[in-house]
Symmetry: C2
Subunit: 203 residues, 2 copies
Amino acid sequence: MSSTETKVASQEKAVDTPPKGLPQFGASGRRIIYDKDGKPCRACNTLLDFQLATGKSSKSRKEKKEHGQSTESSSSTIASTMPSTTSGTSYYTKVDPPDVTKLGRSSWSLLHSIAATYPEEPTTKQQQDMKSFLNLFAGFYPCWFCGEEFGKYMEKHKPDTGSQDDLGKWLCDAHNAVNKRLGKPKFDCQFWKKRWKDGWDEE
Amino acid sequence: MSSTETKVASQEKAVDTPPKGLPQFGASGRRIIYDKDGKPCRACNTLLDFQLATGKSSKSRKEKKEHGQSTESSSSTIASTMPSTTSGTSYYTKVDPPDVTKLGRSSWSLLHSIAATYPEEPTTKQQQDMKSFLNLFAGFYPCWFCGEEFGKYMEKHKPDTGSQDDLGKWLCDAHNAVNKRLGKPKFDCQFWKKRWKDGWDEE
């Protein structure tokens, strides 16, 4: 991506050296990422490592708000974070911000789905728009560290926006590069369209 | 948003009138959204309604690939869709593309988290970049119907990118507008920062 754009969004972000007295590695064995202000980056670490670095314990829990009753909603859905306005009182379930793992899962799901609905024969404008979108995505990504890595990847491997299949395969390769760094297994990109567009119904 | 940009990405998308012989409403009672080619829009409907419209049944399932053994990975993670390359054979778990509900959950999670790491005092360039990002996001959103609704919302309620809190509250209001349309409860936006940035640890 344009390093300018990467810097734009990450310039107020961070260095990744641990502040004095704070751990360099988490329970997972992964390096703990800190922001420039010295605080652990919530969006860059697993919840467990974030808690290790902050010394705070945290869990999703239902909470009563002013004479209200607790909701029955599951803490695994966005709806569960919404207050019920039943009988005029207002409730909400306390759900913590997503950690780096949840963010990654959500973001890959969105990006692959975007590729799956990208035009088969995009116009020059649509191709340019997709490149801009990917650059801005990397620049604004909540995990500044992950966004910069994605930006570096795009500098070496320019996004292939020539067609839906080109973009889908490029994105699958980009995802595999991250999987490799994280020690996760590689996905066979010949199946990207079944996984993210058509499904497996035909078989 | 700039309607130009919305149209750019959605111009090859769809009309929402049901093709002859296909249902107008799904099991949920919601209108089934179709693409211009007359096929049900997978990213615009719940999996159940999509199956109703296509007559296909579909489920996540583990599958053996050429002499391979099935993996133990859970179908609820991206990792589970990756083949294991252990002992040279390649496996994968068949997981269907996300439906409109999963996509919505993933996308709101990403957008709110982006607002949570947006600069407290953004430069003019960062503010413009965020507006461009939101416009491109709406234009490329896999559910063309949802993307257009978001685009219309942004035409009436211009994104407030003046600060992190401005953007976080604007996005919370935008999310509540969708919740209202879907009959979901309203979130109290005074808590947006606890839900998406700081967590509830302090209390």
